[in-house]
Amino acid sequence: MLQAQHLVKRFFGITVVNDVSFEVRRGEVVGYLGPNGSGKSTTAKMLTGLLDASSGAVCLDGHDVSRDPVRFRQRLGYVPEEPILYTFQSAVEYLELVGRLRELPATHLAKKIGALLELFGLSHAANQDIGSFSKGMKQRVMLIAALLHDPDVLILDEPDSGLDVTTTLVLRQLIVTLARRGKAILYSSHVLELVEKACDRVLVIHQGKIVADGTIDALQHLVSGGSLEEVFSQLVLSDNPERTATDIADVVADHA
C-alpha cells in the first residue's frame, strides 16, 4: 500500500536519511524504531510530503504521491512528533478547522468531534484554549485530528509521547483495531514494549539507514533470542547503558 522507495534526505550536504526503502501493507502495523537523530521523523515527514526528499519516491498503491499530493493527503492521517497547534484556539475549534479543511459534512463533523473528544477524555477541556493544555492533551488532539477523516494510511510519529498510562493502553489497542479494519500504519515510538505488542513488523533505522526489517520473531531469532529491547540494544547501541548511567551518577555526585 504505502511504499518508501530509496528515500534520501540531505541537509547542507549531511545525509540524514540514506536510501530508505520499505512498504507498509494494508492491515499491517509497522514499527519504526531508532535512537534520537537516526532519521525516523525525517522519514515520516518525507512520507507525508511535509519535507521534499533529496531523492527517492513515496508511492501509494503503486502511484507516486508527488503527482497528486492532495489525493494522497485525503487518505493520510499524521501525528507529528511535536504537537504544534494553534494555541489560541480551543480543541473543538481546531478540530472543526481540520474537518472543514478536509470538507467533512458539518453535522457529521460536530458529532464525530464530540464523540472522539469524549472517548479521548478531553470533553471537559473541549472549549479551553489549547495553549493551556498539557503535552499529553495536545497529543490527544493531534490523534483526533489525524483520525477525523477515517484515513487509509496512518503515520504516527511518537504518538505516545506525553500520554498517560490509560491513554497509552487505549492507543495501543486502537492501533491494532484500526489495522484489523484495513488501515496501513507506520508507528514510530521509543516505547519498545508498545511496539512489541502492537506491531506486525519492525524496521530499525540507525544513522539514516535501515539496519533491520522483519517480524519481531525474526529479529529476535537474528540476535539469538531476547526481548525487543535486547534486539534494539544490539543493533543500535554502541555504548554500554549501565556504564554511561554510572558515569552520569558520578558526575552528579561530584561536589568539588
Binding site: G49, V70, Q74, L76, T87, R100, L101, A106, N127, D129
Partner: protein, 589 residues
C-alpha cells in the same frame, strides 16, 4: 548577583519574545526599532528647530508663545509613545504562568522574582523614555532664534527642564497604562481581567495611535486654544500639566530676556504675546501642581496594585466551560446557511474570526489601521464633525468622504493582517489538509473580515451620520458604505494567491512607490464618490439608480480582473519565501 541575573532574564525575554518575535534576529530588530525611535525624534527636532532658524529676529514674547506649542508637542509625544510602549508590552507587564513554571521551581524567593520583573520593566521604560527624548533635549538650545541669548545658565535650565518634563510625561504615560492594567487585575481578578484584556488593549491602541497621529495638527496656538481662559479641558488634559511644569521651571529664561525694540513685523504682536504669556503664569503653577500630584498618584497606584497582584506567582487561567447560548447557536446556523455555506468557506470564515481578535499582531495591525482611519476622518472633517447639516445639497464633501476613507484604511489594515500567519509553525495543519482550492477559503476570510472589521466601523459611522445628516440620508450613506466596502475588499484581494493567515509573510517589495499612489487614489476616489453621492442624495430613486449602476459596473470589472489570472495561473504557493532553512515549512503542493 541573582537579582541581576533575573533582571537580565526578564529584559532579554522582553526583547526576544514579548516585543520581538522569537524567530527574528534580536540585534537586527532592536537596531531597527531603536533607529526608528531616534531618527523620528531627531527629524521632529530638526523641524522644530528650523522654524526658529527661519525667524531669527523673533522677540522673547512671541518666542515664549511659540515655545509653548513645542513643549505641548514634545510632552504629548513622550507621553503617547511611552503609553504605546506599555500597551505593546501589555501581557508582559505582569508575571505569567511561564514565569511560575520556569522560576517557581527554583529556590528563589517570590519577592526576588517580582522585584526583578519590575526592575526590568523600569529599565526598559526608562531606556525608551530617554532614547525618545534624547535628540530633542540635545537640540533644545537650537530651538531658539539666534538673536536671543539666554546665557550658559539659561541654556542649562532650558535643556534640563525639557529633559525632566518630557521624561516625567513619558513616565506618566507609561505608568497610567500600567496602573490601569494592574488596577483592573486587582479589582476584577486575573480570570475576569483576562476576558476583557485584549479588547481593552485594542481600544487603548486605537485611542493612543489616533492621538499620536492627530498631535502635530493640535500642537499649534496652544496658548490661544488649549490654555485660553474658560477652556474647560485645560485642567483635564494631562500634557498641559507637564507644559505647566516646564513653564514654571524654565519659562522665565526666555520671558526674562531684555526686550529690544522689535522689528516692524513683530511690533504689535510682541506686546500682546508677552501679556498673554505672563497672564498664564498662575495657570502654569496650578498645572504644575496637577502634574506632580498625577505622577505621584499613578506611581503609588501602580506599585500598590502590582504588589497586590504579586502576592502569589500566577498559575494558568482555566476558564469555566462555556455554555452554548441560543444566540450563539443562531449565529452558527446563520453562518453555515447564509454567510459561508461550503466547508472551506466556513474554515476561512471561522479561522479569521478566531485569529483577528486573539493574536496580538493581528489586533495591533487592525487597531493601527482604525486609528489611521479615525485620524484621517477627524483631520478632513475638522469642526464640521458635530455640525448638523440640514440641506443635503450643501453637505460638506469631507463628511461624506470620511466613511470611504475610514473603510479604506481599516480594509487595508485587514488585508495586511491577512498576510500575517496566525502561527507559522502550526501552518502544517493546512499543508496536511489543503486541497488547493483557494477561492472558497478566501471567500470565507473576506466575509469574516467584512463582518469583524467593516461592520462595527459602519455601525459607528452610522450613529454619527444619523446625528449630523439625519436618519434618511444616514441609511442611504450606510448602504453606500456597505457597497463600497464589499467592492473594496474584492479589489484588495483580487489576484491574491497566498493562503490568508497561513502563508508566511512576504513584505511588499514596492511599497514605497505604490504606497503614496494608493493613498492618493483612495483620497481621490473617496471625494469623487462623495461628490456623486451628494448629487444623488437629493432624490432616493436617483440615488438607487447610481448605486445599482455603480455596483454592477464595478463588480463586473473586479471579477474580470480577478478572473484574468485564472487563464495564466501561477502555482499556488503556500510555501514561505524566507530563505532560512529553519523556517521552511515546505507547504507547497
Amino acid at each position: 548577583m541573582r537579582s541581576r541575573l533575573l533582571v537580565r532574564h526578564f529584559l532579554l525575554r522582553f526583547l526576544e519574545h514579548d516585543l520581538v518575535s522569537p524567530n527574528a534576529d534580536r540585534h537586527e530588530v532592536l537596531a531597527a526599532v531603536g533607529g526608528t525611535l531616534l531618527s523620528v525624534s531627531l527629524f521632529l527636532s530638526m523641524i522644530t528647530m528650523l522654524q526658529y532658524q527661519f525667524s531669527n529676529f523673533l522677540p522673547p514674547g512671541l518666542t515664549s508663545l511659540r515655545s509653548l506649542d513645542d513643549r505641548f508637542l514634545w510632552v504629548s509625544a513622550s507621553m503617547l509613545v511611552m503609553a504605546l510602549l506599555a500597551v505593546a508590552l501589555w501581557d508582559s507587564l505582569a508575571l505569567d504562568a511561564r514565569d511560575t513554571a520556569v522560576l517557581g521551581v527554583l529556590p528563589i524567593p517570590r519577592s526576588a522574582i517580582t522585584r526583578s520583573k519590575f526592575v526590568a520593566i523600569a529599565l526598559l521604560a526608562a531606556g525608551t523614555d530617554i532614547g525618545w527624548n534624547f535628540a530633542p533635549t540635545l537640540l533644545r538650545t537650537w530651538s531658539l532664534p539666534l538673536t536671543l541669548r539666554p546665557g550658559f545658565r539659561g541654556v542649562v535650565i532650558l535643556v534640563l527642564s525639557h529633559f525632566l518634563t518630557t521624561l516625567a510625561a513619558g513616565a506618566f504615560g507609561f505608568l497610567s497604562v500600567f496602573a490601569l492594567r494592574e488596577g483592573l487585575t486587582a479589582v476584577l481578578g486575573r480570570d475576569r481581567f483576562s476576558s476583557i484584556s485584549s479588547t481593552l488593549q485594542a481600544i487603548l491602541l486605537v485611542a493612543l495611535t489616533s492621538a499620536l497621529l492627530l498631535l502635530p495638527g493640535s500642537s499649534t496656538r496652544v496658548a490661544q486654544t488649549w490654555l485660553a481662559p474658560n477652556t474647560t479641558i485645560t485642567k483635564a488634559l494631562p500634557p498641559l500639566w507637564f507644559v505647566g511644569l516646564h513653564e514654571t521651571m524654565a519659562g522665565s529664561v526666555i520671558d526674562g530676556l531684555p526686550r529690544t525694540r522689535p522689528g516692524p513685523l513683530y511690533l504689535g504682536n510682541e506686546r500682546e504675546a508677552t501679556a498673554l504669556y505672563r497672564s498664564l503664569s498662575p495657570l502654569y503653577r496650578e498645572l504644575r501642581r496637577l502634574a506632580m500630584a498625577a505622577l505621584a498618584i499613578v506611581l503609588v497606584l501602580t506599585i500598590a496594585a502590582a504588589a497586590w497582584n504579586s502576592r502569589r506567582l500566577p498559575v494558568p487561567v482555566v476558564r469555566r466551560p462555556r455554555r452554548t447560548l441560543a444566540v450563539a447557536r443562531a449565529w452558527r446556523w446563520t453562518v453555515a446557511h447564509v454567510l459561508a455555506t461550503s466547508s472551506l468557506q466556513q474554515a476561512g470564515f471561522w479561522f479569521t474570526l478566531q485569529t483577528l481578535p486573539r493574536r496580538v499582531t493581528h489586533r495591533a495591525v487592525l487597531a493601527s489601521a482604525t486609528a489611521v482611519g479615525l485620524s484621517l476622518m477627524i483631520v478632513t472633517v475638522r469642526e464640521g464633525i458635530l455640525t448638523i447639516q440640514t440641506d443635503v445639497a450643501e453637505v460638506p464633501l469631507a463628511i461624506l468622504a470620511a466613511q470611504s476613507l475610514v473603510l479604506a484604511s481599516v480594509l487595508t489594515g485587514f488585508r495586511h493582517a491577512a498576510q500575517l500567519p496566525a502561527e507559522l509553525k502550526a501552518s502544517s495543519t493546512f499543508s496536511l489538509t489543503w486541497n488547493r482550492d483557494l477561492r472558497p477559503y478566501l471567500s470565507g476570510v473576506k466575509r469574516a473580515g467584512w463582518i469583524a472589521v467593516v461592520l462595527p466601523v459602519l455601525a459607528g459611522l452610522f450613529v454619527w451620520h444619523s446625528i449630523v445628516l439625519g436618519v434618511r440620508v444616514a441609511i442611504l450613506h450606510f448602504t453606500t458604505g456597505v457597497v463600497f466596502s464589499a467592492l473594496m475588499i474584492e479589489v484588495l484581494f483580487a489576484r491574491y494567491r497566498r493562503v490568508p493567515l497561513v502563508s508566511a509573510y512576504v513584505p511588499s517589495s514596492d511599497l514605497k512607490s505604490r504606497g503614496p499612489a494608493y493613498v492618493g487614489l483612495v483620497l481621490l476616489l473617496s471625494y469623487a464618490l462623495a461628490w456623486i453621492e451628494r448629487s444623488a442624495l437629493a432624490a432616493t430613486p436617483a440615488y438607487v439608480f447610481v448605486l445599482v449602476g455603480g455596483v454592477i459596473g464595478l463588480s463586473a470589472g473586479v471579477a474580470a480582473f480577478d478572473r484574468a489570472q485564472i487563464f495564466s495561473p501561477r502555482a499556488l504557493d503556500l510555501d514561505e519565501d524566507v530563505p532560512s532553512p529553519t523556517q521552511r515549512l515546505n507547504l507547497a503542493g
